[in-house]
Symmetry: C2
Subunit: 284 residues, 2 copies
Amino acid sequence: MTKWFTEKHSDTINFSIEVSKTLYSSQTKFQKLEVFENPELGKFFTLDDYLMITEKDEFIYHDMIVHVPMAVHPKAQRILVIGAGDGGTVRELCRYKTIEHIDMVEIDEEVVTVCKKYFPNSTTGFNDPRVQLYFMDGLAFVSSKIDEYDLIIVDSTDPFSVGEGLFTKTFYKDCFRALKDDGILVNQHESPFYTHYQKNMQRAHKRIKETFPIARVYQAFIPTYASGHWLFGFASKKYDPIKGVDFEKWLKLGLKTKYYNPELHLGSFALPNYVKELLEKESL
Amino acid sequence: MTKWFTEKHSDTINFSIEVSKTLYSSQTKFQKLEVFENPELGKFFTLDDYLMITEKDEFIYHDMIVHVPMAVHPKAQRILVIGAGDGGTVRELCRYKTIEHIDMVEIDEEVVTVCKKYFPNSTTGFNDPRVQLYFMDGLAFVSSKIDEYDLIIVDSTDPFSVGEGLFTKTFYKDCFRALKDDGILVNQHESPFYTHYQKNMQRAHKRIKETFPIARVYQAFIPTYASGHWLFGFASKKYDPIKGVDFEKWLKLGLKTKYYNPELHLGSFALPNYVKELLEKESL
């Protein structure tokens, strides 16, 4: 009998992927973790029945969560990454020679162990000597830091699962304090389409806007996430994500990217009217 | 027992919508036509088990297929629409007072009859005196036209169904001839992500590029279409879709749109690198 992995995009909408092979299945200390394979998407892993990354489209998410802030910040040297156990975010960061140090804080060590085994292409960054891994709660970690990072990337699960604390006002305030005077916070910011996600997006934006002087939202086409229309939050103490960005400098780095490019960077901040209205309303 | 409508996004990926009510089901002269209802998406209709429009996100597709070329063309007065039986494209066109005449050619009269009944908000344009409806094959219709239209919009089904002929080289050549010296052709252009759609996208682009001096591709977030990353083809004899567009003039029209705006117009042409590479390769 055919086996399927199904994620509910809404109460009445299912996204189902045929599983050609189950590679791993476990209840970790924090969540259900499974690794599957599918002919179209390659290997993919899930947490509590939510799809995290697939081999076919993980590059989109990781390009957008890393290269957008790295193109904006003129000199990002110390970085904090929260979540991101699959390794893709750290892999992309490690391509920048200018980065001196990356702290990565993942609550669930088993995610890293399993991803190292099944997603070798995503986890190359974990071997980089600049990367220090901490297996603990990101909230607790960031709360003790002051004026330390140029960039914080919150690469979390959804606010309705283990990632809940990473969408609170306290957490955003702690990130603000942990950042230097010209620091940037980027986070995965849910999706504007299905009702359930829409509310989480609105709530996250409201809280970030109350904390940071510059708070913008940008978007990417991520086919295997609910609705395919995924958002990122760009919060900043000083730098605007569009005006004054030195794209020539970024291009000179010669990084080959499968999704990101400077025109797309600008375009990703051009939101549809209905999304702008939802963000302005901030109903929660 | 719960009833579901399932569309295959690829051979091994299913998108399933719970059907709270089946409103219509028929085998027309050309295809299977069904109208369903779902709590999240509202009413939606399908042709040969492919989702055409939902009440919740049809505005995205129709904004992008209409307002992009209408903002570019400085004086579009005579328009030809092929397909588009749901009425959304003609509804958006009819908001432009400057348009003098719209010919709409839909092969399947039953689609129009059924959409008039179940989608009254999409079909208001059919009552506009400037609109002339023809129920016939779009290929045959356009082949007899010379130097007649400012804009042709091909709002067709996929090339693997009734819409097949609307993705051929002969058809694009006929469109070229039917357009005036500064005419524009816009078509729904499939999707870059899943293998099957990708090939259709590449083939369409190759053929259009061989026919028109300007051939560009733009994108929109359409959550209920396969992958959510949908493309449109912009082919033109004279006007560039970005350079020299008079957005001030468009804004002065005062059209309220839920998706489209001038910044997004520009952003929609900023394609991800992997999509640009696929379009350049044009493997078929």
